[in-house]
């Protein structure tokens, strides 16, 4: 019996491991949704293949989501070929292989990435709404392509590891059963070029090839980063750690770009390329040494030199501006920040505080605050902070305009009660507007934004077509009156989830505005001018608020990008910014005649125009390299400078009282500032702009579109067989002992291949050794659900010893003998099904599997089949967890699973039957139901209650409380292999979910607990110990330490053989078997002890375990290895309070005792005493 126990443990282990092979619904890189409604085409050029989508059904045929990315693809093909010789020449690396560019046009969000070794670039045709704010120009295709192609060439030229593999995965887990310690180690040995070089280099080479220049947007990023002391430090500079804070991602790009320019200046034009060549000579554990080998000084010295250089440079700029007279007003929103001090000692105290705390305080007034404006009647103030925030706060309430410091407390109570937060994620960064004469706004939202109260509450809103385009909506500024603390008050908060319908009622979609963004309402409140996207470009459209009388003011189809249209006060004209034919300028258009007139015609980046009620056009421009607000008289074309800022000023709007609200760029985010009207700089700036361009030249520019039709002959229908990515294999070398004296070394590879639009993909894995895994998987992502089919075979050997006791009493040792043995097990499985992203939060999957299991010992000439099982399952997972730092701070995950299984025991020596829990089992059906809910809750003051200030402190330190409840029910007695299992698991084999939070009962041996009913509850309290550690130790960069304490309670209950001797017989192994299965006793959760894990005392009595408990603590260290691979480590200690027995080698000494209790199961007589179990993971993550 113990042999089977042992085998069964292994079988289940392997089975669980295999679950990781099931594909996720989000199998595609960018979108979770497949699109069978699209055809794909390919443009073949000399060095590229560009793939693009076209809808099968046209708009005329009633397709509301008609796509045809032909222009985007042609433009990409032409741009790509133009940049090919330039970029290849930069690195003297002329590509033999074709690069495939996939154009995405299914969504309205910016995307652009490459995997150079796969020869793959993927970009969205639509750049979304904020690209130019970060990079400073509206040209999308050449900008994104040159950046990604720079990656392709530079990373191919520098790669020290051949492109057929991303790296080598080396690792192992040593389980010491006697010391109850599992130690896992893992290294992914891959390329390790520094982040600043990779991203900064891509920017730099884009510059060197003439595509980029050091724009004002990039300069403001580094200027403010330097002046506000937010440069990435040396470790961050090398290793990509976006977790630190706002803007670090973009900061890393521009910091690297600027460093590259500095290197070019100091060491010569080819120095950056020489880094690539030097690294390509051979892999080295620390890329940093390349710098020293090429330029003779180490990376840290180079970094310090550069910091000194940029500091001196930008401090000089600061002095210059201050001398010139800084004109910027005050930050408008919120209380004065903690960084504005009344006395030096306050500043000293502030400087002593944690860097992250300081940064968080400065972030607290927002990081992406754009488009501030007051309603025409001065009643409301609002801005786009990701959503549209509107508050009934008059201008005079802000200190920026009051001329004196006002207390926010005076207005905060009403403001908080009567504030609206409107929109969805699609609202981010787009212009919005108040509707004159109404308490309402027009804004950009996603087409699927609205839901019924039931859909909102249940999250059961099906995303049926895979599209969620942007669209214009009207949002009413409505309020409700409800009782709060016994008092009826007017508020915008509906007060309950069911009140959500009131929120939904606020919105009305404006018909016929699909893919429309950036609305601006005409002064009469009847029309909206907005930007409409199609195939890599935009046009200006005017439409009535009810969606009628849609008129295209422009009809470009050549990548033209519009920005911030704004009505003239008389409602006859619209001013806008337009990027076209590589030039960005301000224009105005007569709405009636559609005649376009250029207001500027120069190389400056002028954007964000706003036609003030004073008749002047306020806009952002950078004639001196810093974005400031200027204003132009459209009649005289005279220009005046309004602000003179150090950061960067944009999004200007004139308030009803004649003040200015605008967005200021800081190193802590885009902030809203206000400048009183009487403080405007009003310095003549007419001479700095070309305000009187040649009309013929302008018209020629408007009329010219590059003819790309010659690519028609190079266009063919996409065939996946001709567009397969190069296969990538990852060599795997693993160590996994199955006993303390067994060297379980295995090696092999995992091979991945798919086509470029990801319709068909496959994985092959072969790991050979004592434990052998052979696996092949095919994934089809052509139709709405993704289908997968997996075939695998897992074969393993295990060493063990068996203890025989002559009198069956293991407390006397003189009569015991031990036998060593080795056996092999095999598991074959076919696993197929489908997965479907029901919506953004819910994934569903269904499928079936067939599994056979057998084993082989010395006397077996072949694997003896033990059992086979067929299973059908349905699974649904809900998750709204997105933020991980390193574990989720908030959110809920719910996982529900139903399976129907059919098992047949076929083991010939047992005559095809097995006894389990008092029942003779041969072939049977069963139903299994499992559920799990995990909730993460950030610790913070409760409705403002925080008497000791501890909750506020906990919030600062990112304390998180989590609960995790797992339950399961199988509707009959089943063989051991089909039961639920629990016990500690190390994440090396079982993935990051294995030890977080703790519902596997880390205080008990792995898989030792089993039963047909399961209920386990875990609570954990996690907190940040330290962040911003930023220690670079060789190739390792350590940046954060977290800790958690946790405890678990629960149990697994099973069936028991009857106690009445007349109702059972004893089989040849001495176990009880019920005559009638109706006499089996099903243990009742919470009322019965679980006999399977209740040890037997010397007198034959059970130590009754009604519940099992454990408690533990854990420390987690977040780090990056080789500049790019997360290398997170942990130590977990868990104490199991109960003595248990269980299945197989419960006490972990590799010796299986054969005496049993005769109750009819597969239990050993071993027990595990209460004690500590230790889990160590070095680089194994979680």
């Amino acid at each position: 019996m113990s042999r089977i126990s042992r085998i069964a443990v292994a079988a289940l282990t392997l089975g669980l491991g295999s679950m990781a092979l099931a594909p996720q619904a989000e199998a595609k890189f960018v979108s979770p949704y497949n699109h069978p409604d699209l055809d794909w085409y390919t443009i073949d050029t000399e060095h590229f293949a560009v793939h693009y989508p076209v809808s099968k059904k046209t708009a005329e045929e009633g397709n509301p989501h008609y796509i045809n990315a032909e222009y985007s693809a042609r433009r990409s093909a032409v741009e790509s070929e133009r940049m090919w010789p330039l970029m290849c020449g930069e690195l003297n690396y002329f590509l033999k292989e074709k690069i495939h560019v996939v154009i995405l046009d299914q969504s309205d969000y910016l995307e652009g990435f490459t995997i150079p070794s796969w020869d793959w670039i993927e970009i969205s045709a639509n750049p979304g709404g904020y690209f130019y704010r970060m990079r400073g120009r509206g040209e999308w295709f050449s900008d994104v392509l040159i950046h990604e192609f720079a990656h392709v060439v530079s990373l191919k030229a520098s790669t020290s590891i051949a492109e057929g593999t991303g790296g080598i995965l080396v690792g192992g887990l040593y389980s010491d059963g006697i010391r109850d310690m599992d130690t896992g180690v893992q290294f992914y040995i891959s390329s390790n070029d520094a982040w600043w070089w990779t991203e900064g280099g891509a920017e730099f080479w884009s510059n060197n090839t003439g595509y980029y220049w050091w724009t004002s947007a990039r300069d403001q990023n580094i200027r403010m980063t330097v002046l506000q002391d937010r440069l990435l430090d040396y470790g961050e500079w090398e290793s990509r750690v976006d977790a630190s804070d706002w803007g670090d991602g973009e900061r890393g790009y521009q910091q690297g770009y600027n460093m590259a320019l500095y290197i070019r200046e100091r060491f010569g034009d080819e120095t950056m390329a020489r880094f690539a060549i030097e690294y390509s000579k051979g892999w080295r554990p620390n890329w940093d040494s390349v710098i020293e080998d090429v330029i003779g000084i180490d990376g840290r010295t180079l970094y310090n030199d550069w910091v000194a250089y940029v500091t001196e440079k930008y401090e000089a700029v600061e002095r210059e501006i201050q001398a010139d007279g800084q004109v910027e007003g005050l930050e408008l929103k919120g209380s004065p920040g903690a960084w504005e001090f009344k006395k030096p000692s306050d500043r000293d105290e502030y400087e002593k505080s944690d860097r992250n705390e300081r940064e968080n305080e400065r972030h607290s007034t927002g990081t992406w605050e754009l488009e501030p404006k007051f309603s025409d009647d001065g009643k409301y103030f609002g801005y786009n902070g990701g959503r549209i925030f509107v508050t009934p706060t008059p201008e005079g309430s802000f200190s920026a305009f009051a001329g004196a410091s006002t207390s926010d407390a005076d207005v905060s109570d009403e403001a908080s009660r009567l504030s609206w937060r409107l929109g969805t994620g699609a609202t981010f960064s787009h212009q919005w507007d108040f509707i004159p004469g109404r308490d309402a706004v027009v804004l950009t939202m996603s087409e699927d934004a609205l839901s019924t109260p039931f859909q909102y509450w249940s999250k059961l809103k099906l995303e049926e077509d895979g599209y969620d385009w942007k669209q214009l909506y009207i949002g009413e500024l409505t309020t409700t009156t409800r009782k709060v603390k016994g008092e009826m008050i007017e508020t915008t908060d509906p007060g309950s989830i069911l009140g959500q319908d009131k929120i939904m009622d606020r919105y009305t979609a404006i018909p016929n505005t699909m893919r429309g963004t950036d609305p601006n309402v005409s002064p009469n409140g009847e029309q909206v001018v907005y930007i409409e996207y199609f195939d890599g470009g935009t046009n200006l459209v005017v439409i009535n608020l009810d969606g009628s009388e849609k008129t295209y003011l422009t009809e470009f189809h050549d990548g033209t990008m519009f920005q911030r249209p704004d009505w003239s006060p008389d409602g006859t004209k619209v001013v806008f910014s337009m990027f076209r034919n590589y030039q960005n300028d301000l224009y105005m258009i007569d709405v009636a005649s559609k005649e376009i007139e250029a207001l500027t015609w120069d190389k400056h980046e002028s954007y964000d125009p706003h036609w003030g009620h004073d008749g002047l056009i306020y806009f952002t421009s950078d004639p001196d390299g810093i974005y400031n607000i200027y204003r132009m008289d459209p009649a005289t074309r005279e220009v005046e400078q309004v602000t003179n800022v150090l950061g960067g000023a944009s999004s200007p709007t004139l308030t009803p009282d004649g003040n200015l609200v605008y967005t200021m760029y800081t190193a802590f985010g885009f902030k809203i500032w206000g400048l009183a009207g009487d403080e405007f700089m009003l310095r003549d700036a007419t001479h700095r702009f070309n305000i009187a361009p040649d009309r013929g030249e302008v018209q020629a520019g408007l009329d010219y579109s590059e003819d790309l039709s010659f690519l028609e002959s190079a266009t063919k229908k996409y065939k996946f067989t001709r567009a397969m990515m190069p296969p990538t294999a990852t060599p795997l070398i693993r160590y996994g002992n199955d006993s303390m004296t067994n060297w379980g070394i295995t090696a092999g590879f995992q091979l991945f291949m798919q086509d470029f639009v990801e319709d068909h993909g496959g994985v092959i894995m072969a790991i050979l050794g004592e434990d052998t895994t052979l696996m092949a998987q095919y994934i089809n992502q052509v139709w709405y659900p993704s289908f997968f089919l997996t075939v695998y075979r897992v074969q393993s050997k295990s060493d063990f010893a068996r203890a025989f006791d002559a009198d069956g009493n293991f407390s006397t040792t003189a009569d015991q003998t031990y036998f060593e043995g080795e056996q092999a097990q095999v598991q074959n499985m076919v696993f197929g099904g489908m997965s479907y992203p029901f919506n953004g939060n819910i994934d569903i999957s269904a499928g079936a599997s067939a599994l056979s299991f057998g084993f082989q010992t010395i006397s077996d000439t072949a694997f003896e089949p033990f059992s086979w099982r067929a299973t059908g399952f349905v699974n649904a997972t809900y998750s709204n967890i997105s933020q991980r730092n390193p574990l989720p701070r908030s959110g809920t995950m719910i996982d529900l699973n139903y399976a129907h299984g059919y098992t047949d025991i076929v083991y010939a020596p047992y005559y095809g039957v097995d006894t389990d829990d008092g029942q003779r089992l041969d072939a049977y059906h069963y139903n299994s139901y499992q559920g799990r809910i995990t909730k993460y809750m950030p610790v913070k003051p409760i409705a403002g209650w925080d008497p000791l200030g501890l909750l506020g402190l906990a919030r600062k330190q990112q304390h998180t409380f989590s609960v995790d409840l797992q339950g399961g029910y199988i509707d009959r007695n089943v063989q051991f292999n089909d039961e639920f299992r629990a016990g500690g698991r190390h994440p090396y084999w079982f993935g990051s979910g294995a030890v977080q939070p703790n519902t596997f009962f880390a205080g008990y041996p792995g898989f030792s607990l089993s039963g047909e009913t399961m209920a386990i509850l875990n609570a954990a309290y996690r907190f940040k110990v330290k962040d911003n550690i930023n220690k670079k130790i060789g190739p390792l960069y350590v940046y954060r330490i977290d800790a958690q304490v946790m405890g678990t309670a629960g149990n697994l209950w099973s069936y028991r053989a009857p106690d009445d001797a007349s109702k059972y017989y004893t089989d040849r192994f001495g176990t009880r078997v019920a005559y009638d299965e109706a006499d089996l006793y099903r243990e009742r959760p919470f009322r019965d002890y679980a006999y399977k894990n209740s040890p037997v005392t010397g007198t034959g009595q059970f130590k009754e375990n009604y519940f099992l408990y454990d408690a533990g603590a854990e420390v987690r260290i977040s780090s990056i290895m080789f500049n790019r691979a997360p290398w997170n480590s942990f130590v977990r200690v868990a104490y199991g309070f109960n003595e248990i027995r269980g299945v197989g080698d419960v006490n972990g000494d590799d010796v299986i005792t054969t005496a049993d209790n005769g109750l009819g199961d597969a239990l050993s007589a071993e027990s595990e005493l209460p004690g500590v179990r230790v889990y160590i993971g070095i680089g194994t993550g979680w």
Binding site: P727, M740, T861
Partner: protein, 339 residues
């Protein structure tokens, strides 16, 4: 040779899978791929960055010869032993100076014994090997290539002889592994002189212990026993001449097998404390190795060769070739495809 159909079938399958030039993107030559000479004499001892080599090899030894305890050359007149090894080898140039090799053998084995009237045969997995070769020194014209190599062998072959009820001679299945892992460290050098080249190598194999299903240990009431094969040392030297599209290679080798130990498992990571040496299980041997390498294209080579032991010794583990190579010439045929 007629028993080599599995290798042939595999070869044909792989050939059928080879795509036509430029038909599928997946098989395009990449810029990062290192140059590779079309002539073996000019090739270094590593594959070169970015190259993938698939090779199919068949080895056959049909013999009625065996070694005596002191190296005597003996023969059976009643038995015939057919040993074959068909190997799929994947080699990838992962670094400019390093490659990874991974190989998976299968065996077809047959023993005909007229005395017993038995004809036992079967096909089994062998032991896979994986290795990393690093080239610390290289000059190109003329070629000098010195490599070091670390190789691991892991026991995946058949360990179970079947029922022992009627004694060991009634085994039903051949054992194709020692049941233990090996770690081999070796160094090799090659120097080209015009159309000639000389090559020499030295290697040391440490053999770990392991429980083996074929080993019954009764002294201490064991079910299976623990075995530690003797460590090995090997030296070899060869010369090569390139004659147009064919390279001819010939050389000598010398091997020393250490003493095998067996017993029960002790504690610790190297649990060998209870093992006892098996007297007479050590030995030495030498022989010759000749190969002809034909270049069909730069990407395809055909290799034919013979491995001829001149002296060996009875190491007491017949028919486990991993522990006890039998006497007889092993013929080798190999197809190499490079992408």
């Amino acid at each position: 040779m007629k028993k080599l159909w599995p290798a042939l079938a595999l070869t044909l399958s792989c050939t059928a899978l080879m795509p036509a030039e430029a038909q599928a993107t997946a098989w395009e030559a990449k810029t990062m791929r290192a140059p590779l000479s079309a002539r073996e004499v000019e090739r270094p001892l590593i594959l070169g960055k970015g190259w993938l080599e698939l090779s199919l090899e068949a080895q056959v030894k049909s013999t009625n010869q065996y070694w005596g305890p002191e190296g005597e050359k003996l023969e059976w007149d009643y038995a015939e032993w057919l040993y074959t090894k068909e190997t799929l080898r994947v080699r990838y140039g992962i670094l400019r100076r390093g490659d990874l090799t991974w190989e998976l053998p299968v065996h077809y084995l047959r023993l005909q014994n007229e005395n017993l009237g038995t004809d036992t045969k079967g096909m089994y997995w062998g032991d896979p090997r994986f290795s990393f070769t690093f080239e610390p020194l290289r000059t190109d014209v003329p070629l000098t290539s010195i490599v070091t190599k670390a190789e691991m062998k892991v026991p995946m072959g058949n360990e179970s002889p079947g029922s022992y009820i009627a004694g060991p001679s009634t085994f039903q299945r051949f054992i194709t592994t020692s049941g233990t892992p090996d770690l081999t460290l070796s160094a090799r050098g090659k120097r080209q002189i015009g159309i000639f080249a000389v090559e020499a190598g030295v290697g040391y194999m440490y053999r770990f212990s392991g429980l083996a299903q074929y080993l019954l240990e009764t002294t201490n009431n064991q079910l299976n026993g623990r075995l530690k094969p003797g460590n090995q040392i090997q030296l070899d030297a060869a010369g090569m001449v390139q004659l147009g599209p064919v390279a001819l290679q010939g050389g000598l080798w010398l091997k020393r097998w250490g003493t095998v130990e067996a017993g029960t498992t002790s504690g610790g990571l190297l649990p060998n404390g209870n093992l006892e040496p098996i007297v007479g299980s050590e030995g030495w041997g030498w022989g010759a190795d000749i190969n002809a390498i034909g270049h069909v294209t730069r990407g395809i080579d055909v290799v034919a060769g013979a491995y001829i032991p001149v002296r060996g010794e009875d190491l007491m583990f017949f028919p486990i070739e991993d522990l006890h190579p039998t006497r007889g010439t092993t013929f080798t045929g190999r197809l190499e495809f490079r992408f």
